[in-house]
Symmetry: C2
Subunit: 260 residues, 2 copies
């Protein structure tokens, strides 16, 4: 494997990649093309796996994160609906799932008729994803690759990329870069990316309760003047992103498109 990421482990179960069942469908590279391409790939400098990457991937090996994401029915059902709405396109095709986590989107794709799904996951949750695939009798279709998209090898072009790359305020998880790497490495010209576009709306809001609770609070703390905390408290309370539900009357402007 290219690169030196400690997460690019050889666990055995990723070895199926490239040992397709020989059905010779459209887009499968021949063995010699494959070797040439791999040679080129090896010569390209791969961004090495940093401490930040390791912390990032380690975070996603925690079960609670996946529980929270999957329990968000609006999120998970939107992905499922998108996959099944594109069932005609996906059926019989090759898919790569970038950052598959527990493998749920890969399994949806298999259920939608994908011929093969490469489920790429750098964090250790890949071990569970592989077990889940087996438990659902999908090992012949879903191949879990434990490593970064930069490092794993897929020896055919793919028709579809699915990825749950969206984070808070759309871009927070910084995973879009991995989707782009996957696209450049494997996607056929004209292939499908799910999702492929997004719109970020922004609006000015006010939050007086929070302001008084976190900022004005310091003016009188058990009778002590702690106003010296105000600059830091303002910075801390409103200088960092915050994810919370607010009521409509706190929205001061109509939402505007911030980014498309």
């Amino acid at each position: 494997m290219a690169g030196g990421c400690v997460y690019s482990r050889e666990d055995g179960y990723g070895d199926d990649a490239g040992n397709g069942d020989g059905d010779g469908g459209d887009g499968v590279s021949t063995s010699s093309q494959w070797k040439e391409k791999q040679q080129e790939e090896r010569e390209k400098p791969t961004r090495p796996c940093t401490d930040f990457d390791m912390a990032y991937f380690n975070f996603y090996s925690h079960v609670g994160i996946h529980e929270e994401m999957i329990k968000d029915r609006i999120r998970t059902e939107s992905y499922r609906n998108a996959i099944f709405q594109h069932q005609n396109y996906i059926a019989g095709k090759v898919v790569v799932d970038v950052g598959c986590g527990t493998g749920i989107l890969s399994i949806f794709c298999a259920q939608a008729g994908a011929r093969r799904v490469y489920a790429v996951e750098a964090s250790d949750i890949a071990v569970q994803a592989n077990k889940i695939v087996k438990a659902n009798n999908l090992s012949d279709k879903v191949i879990v690759l434990h490593g970064r998209v930069e490092d794993v090898e897929i020896d055919e072009e793919v028709d579809v990329i699915v990825s749950e790359w969206m984070g808070y305020i759309l871009l927070y998880e910084s995973m879009l870069g991995s989707v782009i790497i996957a696209r450049d490495r494997w996607l056929k010209p004209g292939g499908l990316i799910l999702p492929s576009n997004a719109t970020l709306y922004m609006a000015l809001v006010t939050h007086p309760d929070r302001y008084s609770g976190s900022v004005d609070f310091w003016r009188n703390v058990y009778g002590i003047d702690m106003s010296a905390m105000l600059p830091l408290a303002k910075q801390s309370a409103f200088g960092e992103p915050s994810v919370e539900s607010i009521t409509a009357e706190n929205v001061l402007t109509l939402p505007q498109v911030g980014m498309e």
Copy 2:
């Protein structure tokens, strides 16, 4: 200053330590005693400031932590009550506040009549603590020392140590060690430590809703068998400490003393 911790900054405002107002009260070392003692101190090996220390102290420079701790009225008022219940002892005495944070306990001690309070704080919140002390016209009594208890210098023995060292499940913040260092460095024989003893009660509890939400959940996730997640989910949900309120009927045994 002994030690090499990056948090032992010379901000000017800590320089008052040792330049007492010359009232010559009991326990103030003379200048030559002081220098001898400092020489000895320098020869003792001080535990160096590690990356862990830096992350730990950096955490306490975040305002939100202090807001949360101070807003816990049971916590803050217990400390205030303890200090004022010992007002007869504290009045006219020298106090050290180990990990003073915003300086609230130091100010309570000054309000209770302490002659001088050394407020020791390694995190950058010390800068705010010093401003708060000034804003409350207590600069003549409360001296903020920005550094670890291992590193700062106090040139007199102290009568009282106050410290909010208790964390989750009593010991979680691992700050007790700093109180012990302060005691060994500065406390007069027979001096007062607030608090000086604690009792940790433990009881068996059950939490069926949490179990089903975080563990059983994986048995059927949008129709997919994710039981492979169960071992990890059990470990994650119940292998780590959790701080939450539960109802009385979930407590299965009478509380037992776990530690005193």
